[in-house]
């Protein structure tokens, strides 16, 4: 059996051997398991954008792109396997879409020299480029998200949350625990009371958590959920008749998959978002001509225009723009992972650039520097309308409270640096 395995893996390796002149963007996707509903649209968007670049522009800077997919099922063991399986392929950037896998990969990519982009997830303190050379989490991170949600609530409540009670319903994992420290600091600053309510993986059973919410009557509920947990939480909130406009999810708890199962009960539910929504962008015309109508759409081809599909496109766009920047800096079209990292560190996203790409006002304008790998840290608030089955953007870009977040990032990254023995860069 082992022999057979060796032979098969060898033939597989040879089939996927090193082909020259291509840019490889591995997609560690998950289309199965309890998080599959959210993994599919992201993976489709990611793949479709690169297909568009290949079909319309002949790749990036004249070099074709390739997006090998590897199924992780949001499982860290499979994530490790996928990383090891793809790292011999000259990958330019890893985007695992899982905070658990990100924690596994941070030390590995730092040792092997591959950039890791965790867009709005992963380890928040990776925003400190002085410590995390290979890890990026622009345009915004969890702590920004927590602070933006609180800033929005401050705005709604005339600038004061004194005496209010805010519950955080979170996925009981590294992902869900990330915002707690920030919310505690902000609680001290703004005088609200924080109620922490964990939900264990995968989150299909939340009766007791929502019973607790019914008893303790928080004024607002924030949610850090993912996958099936979102749907269940929104359904449970509807069941206990919690006022939906006081229920705000992070950007990972605000897609169509999360609200549609709750039907009319989900009406008014709010969530953060780090990019714009809908198909009303010139980019979608190109996608239709070059990808959908050509029958090259990834997956089942039914996810266009959903929140997470747009997020996949956004992630792919940021990666492609970083690759372009890297090509300009190094004067070569066939960049490698180290050059890609330089490109990411010099990445600048402006309104003009996004408009030229056919995505006007799609995401925030931001620039990445050696010190700041976290981008601008802005997000919008969107609200679900159950009748029309659409999200509506309610606000403009909201800034996070850097005076609270920056010291937290400095402290947490310093702890990592001490643990892993990392020297500060950018000095």
């Amino acid at each position: 059996m082992k022999l057979k395995l060796t032979a098969l893996a060898l033939s597989a390796l040879m089939a996927a051997g090193p082909a020259m002149a291509e840019l490889v963007f591995p997609s560690l996707s998950y289309r199965t398991g309890p998080y599959g509903a959210n993994g599919i649209p992201f993976a489709d968007g990611y793949a479709d954008y690169f297909t568009l670049l290949n079909e319309r522009d002949g790749g990036i800077g004249g070099v074709m792109t390739r997006v090998p997919e590897c199924e992780t099922a949001y499982n860290t063991e499979k994530g490790v396997e996928c990383y090891e399986a793809t790292k011999g392929d000259n990958p330019l950037i890893y985007q695992p879409l899982s905070t658990g896998i990100t924690y596994q990969l941070i030390p590995k990519v730092s040792a092997d020299g591959f950039p890791l982009h965790t867009m709005g997830y992963g380890r928040t303190s990776a925003a400190n480029g002085k410590i995390f050379e290979w890890v990026f989490n622009y345009p915004a991170n969890y702590w920004d998200g927590a602070s933006i949600a609180i800033n929005y609530l401050l705005d709604e409540n005339g600038g004061s949350l004194e005496g209010k009670k805010i519950a955080l319903v979170y996925h009981n994992s590294a992902y869900g625990k990330e915002p707690i420290r920030t919310l505690q600091e902000l609680a001290a600053k703004h005088g609200y009371e924080l109620l922490e309510i964990p939900v264990d993986h995968p989150g299909q059973e939340q009766k007791s958590q929502w019973l607790q919410i019914r008893q303790q009557r928080p004024d607002f509920v924030l949610m850090w959920g993912w996958g099936v947990m979102n749907q269940v939480a929104i359904q449970e909130a509807a069941n206990i008749r919690f006022p939906m406009e006081n229920f705000i999810g992070v950007w990972w708890s605000g897609s169509e998959n999360d609200v549609i199962p709750a039907g009319a009960g989900a009406d008014g539910y709010k969530s953060l978002n780090m990019h714009n929504i809908g198909t009303d962008f010139p980019l979608y015309d190109d996608l239709k001509t070059h990808v959908y109508d050509a029958g090259m759409a990834a997956g089942a081809g039914d996810q266009m225009g959903t929140v997470l599909y747009n997020r996949g496109i956004y992630a792919a766009m940021l990666a492609a723009e970083a690759a372009k920047t890297a090509q300009e800096i190094h004067g070569t079209a066939q960049i490698n992972a180290a050059q890609m990292r330089d490109g990411m560190e010099a990445l600048e996203i402006t309104e003009e650039k996004m408009a030229a790409l056919g995505m006007p006002n799609f995401g925030p304008a931001f620039s990445v520097t050696c010190e700041n790998h976290g981008g601008s840290g802005r997000a919008k608030i969107q609200q679900w309308d159950a009748d029309t089955q659409t999200w509506t953007i309610l606000t403009d870009w909201i800034d996070s409270d850097r005076s609270v977040i920056d010291p937290l990032i400095a402290a947490d990254s310093a702890a990592y640096a001490a643990e892993a023995g990392v020297e500060e860069r950018c000095n």
Binding site: M1, A9, A73, T76, V80, P107, A111
Partner: protein
């Protein structure tokens, strides 16, 4: 023809009671060891280490541990994941508290700590058995995972609740952390596997193993012939948890490097290891290896064939993988309810007569 006792004479008592009484088996064993120690470390790469060999070896340790408890002593346990978590968190606390002490010692100590916890959760086995005991160990599983998620001390109050393994060396070669070479990862696991398999084999055929088996076969009869059930059951829990704890420590420190308790050591892990010993064969050391190989290697093999070889979509391959592995498990259990080890035993019996069966 090759595989027979004839002509192989034992001249000492040691020879008479050796593990492999047939010459062919003995040579096969030495060849496997020679390949494992002499050839694989020189040709192994990161993918083979991280996706195939290291998980296989670590799961083999966990399966041996559970096999001692369930296969040899007859005490069903669903707490394997929780006990692996104890090993992992003990190893993490020791690694960070005493950075200068050798990692090998830390892993062994994690095993002993897990053994202590295992004995504690083994106490109900003195009064209950069968399904009731399974439920009691299930409580251990959930309690331990909850504990490591809840109490900050266990994960050194890190913001995310994750534990990550710092770099530690053996003979100044890193075996944990991101700079570990593939062969170093493989070798440390292999050494633990070989030593622990040797220990398990010799424990199970000695007085202690016979006591466990007597308890498994009929505890009242065992008590009447003078086996102390308290001692037998609790030693089974202790030894089993020791193995499982070492597996957990290696799983965290060498294999994954960073661990989130709910995801990695959840109830699925308990079931996975239980399936390994059921498919491999209860009450067999070889069965532990066979079961671990079956459940670790087969999904990786299927994935490489379906996605790498045939180029099918990853989601289709992932679903098919579940169906094929599930189908094979059922087929195997119908064809041979006593697991792969029994198939192996039957094959050996046939081989003895080959090529002239009656």
């Amino acid at each position: 023809m090759f595989y027979r006792e004839a002509g192989d004479f034992s001249t000492t008592y040691q020879q008479d009671s050796q593990t492999f009484p047939i010459k062919f088996d003995r040579y096969r064993y030495y060849i496997v060891l020679a390949v494992a120690f002499g050839i694989i470390p020189f040709i192994i790469n990161d993918y083979w280490a991280s996706a195939v060999f290291v998980p296989f070896l670590i799961y083999a340790i966990a399966a041996m541990g559970l096999n001692i408890l369930t296969g040899y002593c007859g005490q069903v346990s669903l707490g394997t994941g929780g006990f692996m978590a104890v090993g992992a968190y003990a190893c993490y606390k020791l690694m960070t508290a005493f950075p200068d002490v050798s990692i090998v010692l830390h892993v062994l100590l994690s095993g002993f700590i897990t053994a202590g916890v295992g004995v504690l959760f083994g106490l109900p086995s003195l009064r209950i058995k069968g399904f009731y005991l399974a439920v009691a160990t299930l409580a251990a599983q959930f309690f331990l995972v909850w504990l490591f998620n809840r109490v900050g001390w266990f994960y050194n109050y890190s913001a995310s609740g994750q534990i990550s393994a710092p770099e530690r060396t053996v003979f100044s070669i890193p075996v944990t952390g991101p700079n570990t070479e593939a062969w170093a990862k493989y070798m440390i696991c292999l050494v633990f596997v070989v030593v622990l398999a040797w220990v398990a084999r010799n424990l199970t055929r000695g007085a202690l193993g016979r006591q466990w088996m007597a308890i498994r076969d009929m505890d009242i009869a065992a008590e009447i012939i003078g086996v102390n059930p308290l001692k037998a059951k609790l030693t089974a829990f202790a030894v089993s948890s020791f193995f499982v704890g070492i597996a957990g420590a290696l799983f965290f420190a060498v294999y994954l490097g960073a661990v989130e308790v709910g995801e990695v050591f959840g109830i699925q892990k308990s079931f996975l290891v239980l399936f390994m010993i059921i498919i491999g064969g209860l009450g067999s050391i070889f069965g532990s290896f066979a079961g671990a190989a079956f459940l670790v290697l087969l999904p990786v093999l299927l994935k490489n064939v379906l996605v790498g070889g045939l180029g099918w979509p990853t989601d289709l391959a992932a679903h098919l993988e579940l169906m094929i592995v599930g189908g094979l498990i059922i087929t195997f259990l119908i064809a041979e309810p006593h697991g792969l080890a029994q198939l192996w035993r039957v094959a050996k019996e046939k081989l003895r007569l080959w090529p002239f069966p009656h």
